[in-house]
Assembly symmetry: C2
Homo-oligomer: 127 residues x 2
DNA sequence: CATTAAAGATTACACATGTAATTCAGTGGC
DNA sequence: GCCACTGAATTACATGTGTAATCTTTAATG
């Protein structure tokens, strides 16, 4: 199972945001919020390629990187693992725990409500 | 911020389940689901004490370990971090992502629905 | 065409983590 | 009182991770 570290995840995020892109591209977009040396980002790009999280295509002197895994797929995998480990596979306690400490925005709440409704619908159909 | 690794978390789980308890206790309860050497568990206990996740009290020759952080508190912290990193701090997309791949049990769904209702209630009171 | 600058590849190094083995110290049994 | 056993403390060692620096190659420039 693809395991992406924290620092690596920051790199993946900008690539997911817009791909394909060059290393220079990633570096400049990352510098908006992180304070990383150019070499650091290159190392992370290399590691992500080794891990099979990124692929690239030569474009002249530089490389064009693309994700090998979709953001949604990774989010799904990671959420599953997280919820299994910390909440015995149940999602409701996670939401409860999160809400106890953090504010849930109105938009978030509305979306959640809709989701619950949809899931109920599905469940009825299954019967 | 208290950072507990995966292996360490398994140890914390059994201690949260029932504390205080001795190392022998933890070892035997862990052997139900993990295949770890006794020495491994002791190492993890030591690291958790160093990190300030566990404290102990001498009881004769052995130690009685207790958590320094409540399971709920840790869950809250970890959930917050996770959701911030993977879902930009929004909980609904996490639930959506999770539900797309895993089954949400009826109980879980009901709990979720209740939660949403409660949160809506709170939000109205805030106005 | 020789030189420099820039891209990627390789190497570095300290700390974390998984997984133990070895050492030390105290307690109970003979 | 000495020895063995058991629990804790220390040490071990490979791999992962954060954070770069150095080396190598190649393309552009004078």
């Amino acid at each position: 199972m693809l395991d992406i570290s924290n620092a690596e995840l920051d790199v993946m995020q900008v690539i997911w945001q817009q791909a394909p892109c060059t290393a220079a591209d990633v570096i400049s977009r990352l510098q908006q919020h992180k304070d990383w040396h150019e070499k650091t980002v290159k190392t992370l790009l290399n590691r992500l390629v080794s891990k099979g999280a990124l692929s690239y295509q030569k474009q002249g002197r530089a490389y064009l990187y693309s994700p090998c895994i979709a953001q949604q797929d990774y989010q799904q995998q990671a959420s599953g693992n997280f919820i299994d480990r910390l909440f015995a596979g149940r999602v409701a306690p996670l939401v409860a725990s999160f809400a106890r400490k953090h504010d849930v925005s109105a938009a978030d709440l509305a979306e959640l409500k809709q989701l619950v409704a949809d899931l109920e619908q599905e469940q009825q159909e299954d019967n």
